[in-house]
């Protein structure tokens, strides 16, 4: 039974959906967060975080491989029965909702503080919600196409960033591992949030056309994200001095400020505007899987009504209350916590029982 045949994803779409979900709000603040904890050795934490993410992703794939036609929601109902399963789906929908809300509120807040400082946050959100609805209502197939297209469309950004190369001082990086391994390992914790996105494989796997590439694809996605994180972090570390970097909330944006042409200044504004595409590829999959889960739970096929309600709720919430940066930080922490549970702990815990459960039935078949 192929329930999800209509929305099939190609391998590239699968890679870029995961990669897009990973590269999001984290990139803007990552160099500072890492520098606060691990100093200029933070870039090593990224590699460690990448290794963890790859291990967790491979665990997820190894679980999903045993039930190639089922998303995590189907699996939960299968294992825990109707009611407990539904409760679990609610939790997952909540997790996705938290992720989506975090990214959207961050987007609105960054735009508000960096470009449109006089526009109220909810107006920006209403405005963002329109393309949001247009794209997500098309379902996963459209999301996949979107993620892939956006990846190619934003390829110029790291290249242009390279023009800041003459301003960098690579000596800032030395000595490597100056304070021992402790800070580096602590720093890994803050990269976990940035690598979140691979857990979408729980949903994406059954939609994938050629499942033999699932593991390879997810490794490629993680590696791509790691390269982008590394690129930005190394650049920030060599551009700003080790003390200066911790003073900026979003060092990545300040990095772009120095790139100037005779006809164009303040590249950061253009960069940030284009960065909306990256932020959209992070929030859209989470938004989609929130409404996908809720509509599946309610037993409706059409996710569009739920999507409209969810977007309306977000706008309404932001209209009633504009979150300040402390609220945003709390939201991020909530998402990290959920991500650790859903992305790292769940696969680690589930892989053993599923492996044991499935084994006998396979032997019986043979």
């Amino acid at each position: 039974m192929k329930r999800y045949a209509f929305n099939e994803l190609t391998v590239f779409q699968y890679i870029f959906l995961i990669h897009g979900a990973q590269v999001g709000i984290g990139v803007l603040s990552m160099p500072r967060e890492l520098a606060e904890v691990a100093g200029t050795d933070g870039w090593i934490s990224i590699i460690l975080g990448w290794a963890l993410a790859v291990i967790a992703s491979l665990l997820i794939i190894s679980i999903m491989k045993r039930y190639p036609d089922k998303t995590i929601n189907d699996l939960l109902t299968l294992f825990f029965g109707k009611w407990l399963g539904k409760a679990c789906i609610v939790l997952i929908a909540l997790y996705c909702a938290v992720a989506a809300v975090t990214v959207i509120t961050h987007t609105a807040a960054i735009i508000n503080s960096w470009i449109l400082s006089r526009t109220p946050g909810y107006v920006v959100t209403i405005f963002l919600a329109i393309p949001c609805y247009m794209i997500i209502q098309g379902g996963l197939r459209v999301l996949g196409r979107y993620a892939e297209l956006i990846f190619y469309m934003t390829l110029w950004m790291p290249v242009v960033l390279m023009t800041a190369m003459p301003h960098t001082k690579w000596l800032y990086l030395l000595p490597i591992v100056k304070e021992g391994l402790g800070p580096i390992v602590t720093g890994t914790k803050s990269t976990i949030l940035s690598f979140l996105g691979f857990e979408l494989a729980f949903f994406l796997y059954p939609f994938l056309q050629r499942k033999q590439y699932a593991s390879l694809g997810i490794i490629v996605a993680n590696t791509l994200s790691m390269l982008i994180f590394l690129h930005i972090t190394l650049f920030s570390y060599t551009f700003f001095s080790p003390d200066e970097i911790t003073q900026y909330t979003w060092p990545t944006l300040n990095l772009w400020k120095v790139i100037e042409y005779r006809f164009l200044e303040r590249m950061d504004i253009i960069f940030l505007a284009f960065y909306l595409f990256y932020l959209s590829t992070t929030s859209f999959p989470y938004l989609y899987f929130t409404v996908f889960s809720t509509s599946q739970m309610m037993g409706t096929v059409d996710h569009r009504k739920h999507l409209a309600i969810f977007l309306l709720l977000i706008v309404l919430a932001l209209w009633l209350y504009t979150p300040n940066f402390i609220d945003l930080k709390k939201l991020t922490e909530l998402w990290s916590f959920g991500g650790i549970v859903f992305g790292y702990a769940l696969p680690a815990l589930a892989v053993v029982p599923i492996w044991l459960l499935r084994r006998p039935s396979e032997e019986r078949k043979a």
């Binding site: 393309p131 794209i135 098309g138 892939e148 297209l149 190619y152 504004i269 505007a273 595409f277 959209s280």
Partner: protein, 511 residues
């Protein structure tokens, strides 16, 4: 789709108004038949009924036709003359004397009526309850000319005309192949329009073809005057600004699309044909691309891509930079822009709107006017836009440059439907830029992408080969690689037989 349901209901009720006559059979008596015909064709001064005696028929015979729709030479020379000649009959039957190619026999008045309207000559004979339908049509026709809208520098200089039969012949000249199949449908209850669907049977995907046929069969309407009307009735998304069928007047372009695995829909009486499934990229290609050198063609393709971006976004970017994000422009530049805007009383959005609307009006005024007056409009507009407006301090110099640039860019897009879509989008983007600056433009672009990637034409993705990305089709997209490198038909048109050519790469002498 409540709206669609509503439209459907209206259409059905429109059908109920049309009275359909039961098919009455012809009688044996000639006079009865003629009386019945005169009854059907009341108030029809162009109906000709000629009765005559001939040695080839038992008794009297009559021919009936609508003058103007028939070829009079053919009737005089091939029908009347041999029949009126006094000659021994011998074994010859009636039809043996008539030198007309296509002859059929009709037995009821409904068919006779339809055939008369289509320009056939009907021959009735005393004592026979049948009518000979002689194909003699020869309605007023235009000579074959080069289409004005799609002039080609190096391509053929033939364009379609208003007669489907001739148009089919024009395509057959390019594709003398038995796999070129033509399916005919009659659309319209009041004036049945012959709609022909042309395709290569072993190339076109049957599902796509079925989709096209189903959509055409579902139409219930008085009549279709133009292929544009048909397109509006069978397209996928009626609310999209983008054309979902390619409309062309060029037989070579139609033939090349058929070869790519697309379907051509021809509407009788309309000189333009529909090509589907269309993709977004196809609207930026022209036949000339394949007859110029590929490097040149690639350059022109890229020019068009750039023109699309400029025509859609340039005024919006201007508005955003002037009224919102002026910190992006370096100080010297912003000073010179400010200097030129010093006397301008309008906010940038209004300034841009005034100029863009003026330009659109000039264009629209020039389009339908005869050439000499059209030129006058151009000169008047040129003076008004170029100088007077700036000197009067209504708009700034830079705005004039921006408008001129967008105008030129929008004319570079080879397809006029796509050009019109771009012009509409431009105003939307201007509005967004005035509301939110650069963020507005980016979100507008996001929405545009979102719309393009889910649009479909006959169930085939419209954004292909960009979204979904199909790298194998990129050989004929932003770049136009040498013809010998395009060995397969485009994946985007969903074909079942993809091989197009063998290894034709020229190797020069050193083989």
């Amino acid at each position: 789709m409540t709206l669609r349901g509503w439209l459907r209901r209206k259409r059905v009720s429109a059908k109920d108004r049309i009275q359909s006559f039961p098919a009455r059979p012809l009688s044996n008596s000639l006079s009865e038949n003629i009386a019945e015909l005169q009854n059907i064709f009341t108030l029809t001064p162009d109906l000709v009924i000629r009765t005559f005696e001939s040695s080839f028929v038992e008794g009297t015979a009559a021919i009936v036709y609508l003058t103007g729709l028939v070829d009079k030479n053919s009737i005089n020379n091939n029908i009347l003359r041999p029949l009126l000649k006094q000659q021994a009959r011998g074994d010859a039957k009636i039809l043996d004397r008539i030198s007309v190619g296509e002859v059929t026999v009709a037995y009821d008045f409904a068919t006779v009526e339809k055939e008369i309207f289509e320009g056939s000559c009907i021959m009735l004979v005393e004592g026979r309850n049948e009518a000979f339908v002689l194909e003699t049509h020869g309605w007023p026709q235009r000579a074959i000319e080069e289409p004005q809208l799609e002039a080609a520098l190096k391509g053929a200089h033939q364009g379609f005309v208003e007669t489907a039969i001739q148009n089919i012949a024009l395509i057959r000249r390019y594709l003398p192949n038995r796999e070129l199949k033509i399916k005919e449908f009659l659309v319209g209850d009041r004036g049945a329009t012959r709609v022909s669907v042309l395709y290569l049977r072993d190339v076109v995907h049957p599902e796509v073809l079925q989709e096209m046929e189903d959509r055409i069969k579902l139409i219930r309407i008085d009549t279709i005057l133009n292929s544009g009307e048909l397109a509006e009735l069978i397209e996928d998304n009626p609310f999209s600004p983008f054309p979902q069928f390619m409309v062309t007047e060029r037989p070579d372009s139609a033939a090349s699309h058929i070869l790519q695995g697309k379907i051509v829909v021809m509407v009788d009486r309309s000189p333009s044909v529909l090509v589907g499934p269309a993709t977004f990229s196809a609207f930026f290609q022209s036949v000339d691309d394949y007859s110029t050198r590929w490097l040149v063609a690639t350059f022109i393709r890229m020019l068009r891509g750039m023109a699309f971006l400029i025509a859609t976004f340039l005024p919006a970017v201007y508005i955003a930079l002037i009224s919102f994000n002026y910190e992006v422009i370096p100080l010297d530049l912003i000073l010179s822009v400010g200097e030129s805007r010093e006397r301008v009383p309008f906010p940038p959005l209004l300034e841009a709107m005034i100029m863009e609307l003026t330009l659109e009006m000039l264009r629209e005024a020039g389009v339908r006017l005869p050439a000499p007056i059209g030129q006058t409009v151009g000169i008047v507009g040129g003076i008004v836009i170029g100088q007077a407006v700036v000197q009067a301090g209504v708009v700034s110099n830079i705005m004039v440059i921006v408008v001129a640039f967008t105008a030129i860019s929008s004319f570079i897009i080879p397809n006029s439907d796509m050009g019109a879509a771009v012009r509409l989008l431009r105003f939307l983007m201007m509005g967004l830029a005035a509301l939110f600056g650069i963020v507005g433009i980016i979100v507008g672009l996001m929405g545009l992408i979102g719309h393009l990637i889910q649009l479909e034409s006959l169930g085939v993705p419209y954004g292909s080969p960009l979204a979904p990305v199909r790298f194998s089709d990129w050989k004929d997209f932003f770049v136009r690689l040498p013809l010998w490198s395009m060995k397969d038909r485009p994946v985007s048109s969903r074909v079942i037989q993809s091989k197009r050519q063998g290894d034709n790469r020229p190797r020069g002498d050193g083989k």
